[in-house]
């Protein structure tokens, strides 16, 4: 029955799927969201590493969610609120000291003064530079990527809005932006700061959720994009959803339903059907079909291509689709802790944001070297958060929940299998944390590991990549995920890509979903 009235199918109830569905429903479409998991929410859906402990999903902060999304969907009305600690990043060092990056750059600078006057003086200026370039990237993130076949490419790329935004930067910052974007994050920080204890932690921002090292061209752009449209600046954001990322998932789901979106969980789309050059609908695992003239896929691009009939896609495009780079290299570890870990130089205020283990450029680079050889890093880069510090509802009284990003944990292991390595990830994480938070091991009551392979199986992230497609310069803006398929319409009329694999990419921003709907409504 419903199949008749439905005119829009959204594949995947992740944040982008829910945001796109809600926006399309608001525009008068009859939308059904098909989600293979038991619940909507995608990577925002967390877990319980132990009774009474509520861990976030694959990401643990939500500072990049577009304010416009929060406003348009009235997420507050659906119970969404955030916690914004004063601290952004706390970086314990092997020597027992630590560097803290505050929301207030001058406070960071003042604390740095004791270590290096040079870096203290440089920090505020660097923070401003990051903000200036990021403010330009914020325009890029909302922009519809140009059509490489457009009459004047130069104009299209430097087109009106963007061009203006770019010129508004002024010549000096303009040059800085052009220079910084293709840089390696290690270069970006090395030429400004002299302390490894400042360089290393900042570098982690360029490599987290990627398979790249600190010396990889384009990692500066990862850092800068992470600060675009937020007040992240040099240190990045540290914003938590009250009640955990699940609370955001609940709010998004409720908002979509309030707009009349039909939610069908445990509905696994196994094929996207096309007729001639148009999309016709989708086929579900149990064989039933849903017809619709408009199909919006928030599955990763490689998966989306694989859902299509290879013959209809054609050999060249299929080859290109299979070559979209989705090298997952991030694992997650959630710890149920008996108490607050004693991180070097830490106190509850300093530990309330992101705690970063990446004490030097070389440490970050070495950790990521492992990807190249298909090994697990023995000295990983870690980003930990202890959301229970600011949100006691996430752990039993007096205890703490700690969420950890672990890199590098490449999806493609050469000499072992993920079945064998899962526990190992936890052990390495504990061993590493012990060095920066003595006594950490004794606090661990329980832990759970989510490997890239788990991510692929649980969240249908091909290659186990949280950002769907690697955020390298080769899968950026007008060619994310593929040149000529970056304007959300994907391969067939009526089929759109609206997930993290599309511009502006991964992270809890709502950008792809929002941009895609703008284009869809224009095309209709």
């Amino acid at each position: 029955m419903a199949a008749k009235t439905i005119d829009t199918v959204v594949i995947g109830a992740g944040h982008n799927g829910l945001i796109a569905a809600a926006a399309l429903a608001k525009a008068g479409r009859t939308v059904v969201v098909l989600e293979r998991a038991e619940r909507a929410g995608g990577i925002l859906r967390g877990s319980q590493p132990a009774p009474g402990f509520r861990a976030p999903g694959l990401v643990h902060t939500v500072g990049r969610l577009r304010p416009s999304v929060v406003k348009d969907l009235r997420l507050e009305r659906f119970g969404y609120s955030t916690i914004v600690p004063t601290v952004r990043m706390h970086a314990p060092m092997p020597d027992g000291s630590a560097v803290t990056f505050w929301g207030d750059a001058t406070r960071t600078a003042e604390e740095l003064r004791a270590r290096s006057v040079h870096d203290a003086d440089a920090f505020v200026g660097f923070d401003q530079k990051v903000r200036a370039i990021s403010s330009f990237l914020a325009y890029v993130q909302v922009a519809l990527p140009p059509d490489p076949k457009s009459p004047s490419l130069a104009d299209a790329i430097m087109g009106l809005k963007l061009g203006k935004a770019f010129r508004d930067l002024g010549a000096k910052t303009g040059h800085e932006a052009v220079r910084a974007l293709p840089m390696a994050v290690a270069d970006l920080v090395q030429e400004v700061f002299e302390l490894e204890s400042v360089r290393g932690p900042l570098c982690t921002r360029g490599v987290l959720y990627t398979a790249m090292g600190a010396w990889a061209t384009g990692t500066a752009q990862v850092l800068l994009n992470d600060s675009a449209g937020t007040d992240g600046g040099a240190a990045g954001t540290a914003v938590f959803a009250r009640g955990g990322t699940d609370a955001l998932a609940d709010a998004l789901e409720a908002a979509a339903k309030a707009r009349g979106v039909q939610m069908r969980t445990e509905h696994d789309v196994v094929a996207i059907r096309t007729r001639a050059e148009r999309v016709a609908g989708v086929t579900l695992a149990e064989g039933s079909e849903v017809d619709a003239p408009l199909v919006v896929s928030t599955a990763d691009p490689k998966r989306t291509v694989r859902l299509l009939d290879p013959v209809a896609v054609g050999p060249t495009m299929h080859w290109r689709g299979e070559n979209i780079r989705q090298p997952g290299a991030t694992a997650r570890v959630n710890f149920a802790l008996g108490g607050l870990p004693a991180f070097h130089g830490g106190d509850p205020e300093r530990l309330a944001g992101r705690i970063v283990i990446g004490p030097s450029i070389d440490d970050v680079e070495r950790a990521m070297d492992a990807v190249k050889y298909g090994r697990l890093s023995e000295d990983p880069v870690l980003e930990a958060t202890i959301p229970s510090l600011t949100d006691p509802s996430l752990a039993p009284e007096g205890k703490h929940l700690m969420s950890v990003l672990f890199q590098a944990a490449p999806y493609q292991l050469r000499e072992s299998t993920w079945a064998g390595e899962r526990e190992h990830v936890g052990e390495i994480a504990i061993k590493t944390l012990e060095r920066f938070a003595p006594g950490f091991g004794e606090l661990v009551e329980a832990f759970e590991v989510v490997t890239p392979l788990d991510m692929e199986e649980r969240y249908a992230l091909t290659g186990g990549h949280i950002q769907h497609a690697e955020p390298g310069l080769d899968q950026f803006f007008a060619w994310r995920p593929l040149l000529g398929e970056a304007r959300y319409r994907f391969l067939f009329d009526g089929l759109y890509l609206a997930g993290s694999g599309a511009h502006p990419g991964g992270g809890i921003t709502g950008g792809p979903g929002t941009n895609a709907v703008r284009k869809i409504l224009k095309d209709l």
Binding site: K149, E176, W215, D362
Partner: protein, 533 residues
């Protein structure tokens, strides 16, 4: 009373000489000043071991712009380029040997992988097409992105149009080449490790990056842009070594009326009221000129030769933060006979081309890892040629010279250590050990050697930090960011001081394009000025 010239060119390397030749041809009174007793800079042939002439630094030619060969009539001035045929990659008990004979190469690849043999048939033409598309970039001065006035983009408009009109597949390839790592790019096509490694090696030569570093793919293209008699993908060596190129260009410059002085090191560039008025030699001699053309890198030009007071602090900061990071060394060997490869004994034609020590991507990546952490590679990538097999004049009869380009040898060593004689010796011996693994009899044949570290490259040629491209060819230092962001068009903040070396667009390699384009730019501006006046 100081001598007066229309133009003084600092540096007698190939770009300085090309620049001088073009200025002289237009009737300008030009003087070239070379610090050393010999011309060529890094394009240098020198008899290091008696009777053995080495192409000391750069060792092959492929990118030398054909319009320069034509316009300067270099063959008339003695330039003769002998083609190098093929590349062999020695492996433990096998080898990969590609030659210019396409059919032969395909048969060889079939030995390894039918897929790769097939892909190779598609890959070559595709890359050649890309090369033809990208070549225009090498001949236009880059635009200034922060201006974006139509005028600025004009030179590129045809390019944008060409790009738009390219088939989607070529557009994609272009973007990928500009942004991907050589390894990722090649992984799309090939599966044979030794093939991918040997191809990707061209992406890392002279850079401080590894085959898995994003941005290394585009150099793969250079191979297909190399031209000898218009033939794509051709590599060769000049008869008499790469120094012969410099002397052919010098011949053209002299014929056009330029003066060239060697052993005339410039101490500083004279300025007056913010404009360059000439140079002062270390001897104290003063030379006046309407324009000073520096073929040196930006660090030399602005930090060493210019008086601090004429530089705007923010510009100076840009110059100082420009990355050099030499990453390569050279080992030149004098041999009393031809060594044999363990994996392919005999003295056949496979030794006449390039011999590439690049068995796998991991091999090169490991070599890079060492350098990243400040150590010379334990097992370096070596790009070896034996010039005497194509040009016997380089050594006494029956003897040979072996040229080994070695990566990586980082200029900056770990823990602040510096290159000294002991480290140079260790570096050289380690390279010979690496060679011995493929040429077991190499040590028996060595009668003389020259070990060159990045520090030596800096000391001998003046290339800062021994970077053979006058600046790291990383994406953010290309095109409109060479040699200093905002000053990509050969001019400098100091009026009448221009740059014309590899530091400027389109960059390094024995290409000559920077020297030529800068000269033409200057002449154009001069004409404008005259019209204005």
């Amino acid at each position: 009373m100081a001598k007066r010239y229309d133009a003084v060119v600092i540096g007698g390397g190939h770009n300085g000489l090309v620049n001088a030749a073009y200025l002289a041809r237009s009737g300008l009174k030009v003087l070239v000043l070379e610090r050393r007793h010999i011309l060529g800079g890094a394009t240098l042939t020198e008899e290091i071991v008696p009777g053995f002439r080495f192409s000391v630094f750069s060792y092959v030619v492929s990118l030398l712009r054909p319009e320069i060969i034509r316009e300067l009539q270099l063959p008339k001035h003695g330039l003769e380029i002998l083609p190098l045929d093929g590349t062999i990659t020695p492996l433990d008990d096998d080898y990969l040997w590609r030659v210019n004979d396409h059919g032969k190469t395909i048969r060889e690849l079939r030995r390894w992988s039918l897929n790769d043999a097939e892909a190779y048939e598609e890959y070559g033409p595709l890359m050649a097409e890309m090369g033809r598309f990208i070549k225009p970039i090498l001949s236009v001065p880059p635009p200034d992105p922060a201006k974006l006035s139509p005028g600025e983009w004009l030179p590129l408009t045809p390019l944008a149009k060409q790009f738009r009109d390219l088939p989607r597949r070529l557009q994609t390839t272009f973007i990928q080449l500009m942004t991907m790592s050589a390894a990722d790019f090649l992984d799309q096509w090939f599966e044979t490790e030794s093939l991918k490694a040997t191809m990707s090696a061209s992406g890392i030569i002279g850079t401080f990056q590894g085959p898995r570093s994003p941005g290394t793919a585009y150099v793969l293209l250079h191979h297909y842009m190399g031209e000898i008699d218009g033939a794509f993908r051709a590599w060769g060596i000049p008869r008499g070594g790469t120094g012969a190129i410099a002397y052919a260009i010098a011949g053209a410059a002299l014929a056009a009326g330029a003066e060239i002085r060697t052993e005339a090191p410039v101490a500083r560039i004279r300025t007056q009221g913010g404009r360059a008025t000439g140079v002062v030699l270390e001897s104290g001699e003063e030379i006046e000129a309407n324009v000073v053309m520096s073929s040196l890198d930006s660090r030399w030009t602005f930090i060493k030769l210019l008086d601090d007071s004429v530089l705007d602090p923010s510009f100076k900061r840009e110059v100082l933060r420009y990355k050099y990071r030499g990453s390569s060394g050279k080992v030149n060997l004098a041999l009393d006979g031809l060594p044999e490869l363990a994996c392919k004994p005999g003295k056949g034609e496979w030794l006449r081309g390039a011999i590439s020590f690049s068995p796998s991507i991991d091999y090169i990546e490991h070599a890079y890892d060492d350098a990243k952490y400040g150590r010379p590679s334990a097992r370096p990538y070596i790009d070896m040629i034996i010039p005497t097999l194509v040009d016997p004049s380089m050594a006494p009869p029956g003897n040979h010279v072996m040229s080994c380009f070695v990566q990586y040898a980082p200029y900056h060593l770990a823990d602040g250590e510096i290159w000294d004689d002991a480290k140079r010796e260790a570096f050289g011996q380690n390279v010979i050990d690496t060679i011995e693994e493929r040429f077991p009899d190499i040590r028996r044949h060595i009668v003389g050697h020259q070990f060159i570290t990045p520090k030596d490259i800096e000391d001998i040629t003046g290339l800062s930090e021994g970077n053979i491209f006058q600046g790291e060819l990383s994406l953010e230092q290309l095109f409109f960011n060479r040699p200093v962001p905002g000053w990509s068009r050969y001019r400098t903040p100091v009026r009448d001081l221009w740059m014309c070396g590899s530091a400027t667009h389109p960059g390094g390699g024995i290409m000559g394009a920077p020297g030529r384009i800068s000269a033409l730019e200057y002449l154009k501006e001069k004409r404008k000025g005259r019209r204005a006046a």
